[in-house]
Symmetry: C2
Subunit: 111 residues, 2 copies
DNA sequence: GTAGTTGCTACGGAAAGTGTAGCACACGTC
DNA sequence: GACGTGTGCTACACTTTCCGTAGCAACTAC
């Protein structure tokens, strides 16, 4: 049983169906951001993905189901799980986080 | 007892201390993204924040503690919880999600 | 047939989140 | 003094989510 996290349907704890809330809810679930991140370069097989992030198959499958329902990820029989065009658009917005996280780490290290 | 999510210390399920992993781990916790989002315009009081997102005080407090430890959020006695300069930088990277989420919603609605 | 890979599920125990109540402290007001 | 109000935060029992391990069914290769 997969709980829907699509815009139009109220997001967890928001009651409104505003897309941004649905998106924050979706991305705020454990491993979701990480899965999108690990698919940034090449398609990954189910087990490969599972090993990369180190989560249980149960939850990897649940997150993948949500991401597929949200049309951010799709399963290609030949290559494995990969980002859809929509998913790649989202990834493009998330990529700056990589560089910023380095800056953030330095700021924290500097005390 | 607050679990640390700082870069340098290994993120949940990552083993490496890479900043991006720490960041994805931090933001991937329930309500974290949402809290940052709700602080985008003005400082919020503890209860105000709690009502806005509709989560239990326990978890709001836990997330705020993590965000404060990560120096993204701070508590100002006069005005309430607000983003730090570092937090505002992060928010700037997240803001494009708002517009994109609308596009995403339309794409899904279009079938 | 049997060994490997695929995506995925079952299940018991551990961890995280929920909902309600309430504490301790400060402030203002009578 | 005793009250009410707002502050951040905690306690506790209940529920949901997640983890770790095992394993299934289908397909491919040999």
């Amino acid at each position: 049983m997969v709980k829907s996290v699509l815009p139009g349907k109220p997001a967890r704890g928001s009651r409104t169906g505003r897309p941004i809330m649905a998106l924050l809810d979706l991305l705020g679930r454990r491993w979701t951001l990480r899965i999108v991140w690990e698919l940034r370069e090449e398609p990954r097989r189910f087990r490969e993905l599972q090993d990369l992030i180190g989560a249980s198959p149960t939850i990897v499958n649940a997150r993948l189901a949500e991401l597929r329902e949200a049309r951010l990820v799709e399963l290609d029989a030949e290559s494995g799980y990969r980002l859809t065009p929509l998913g790649r658009e989202l990834l493009r917005l998330l990529l700056p986080l990589h560089h910023w996280s380095e800056k953030w780490a330095k700021a924290l290290a500097a005390g």
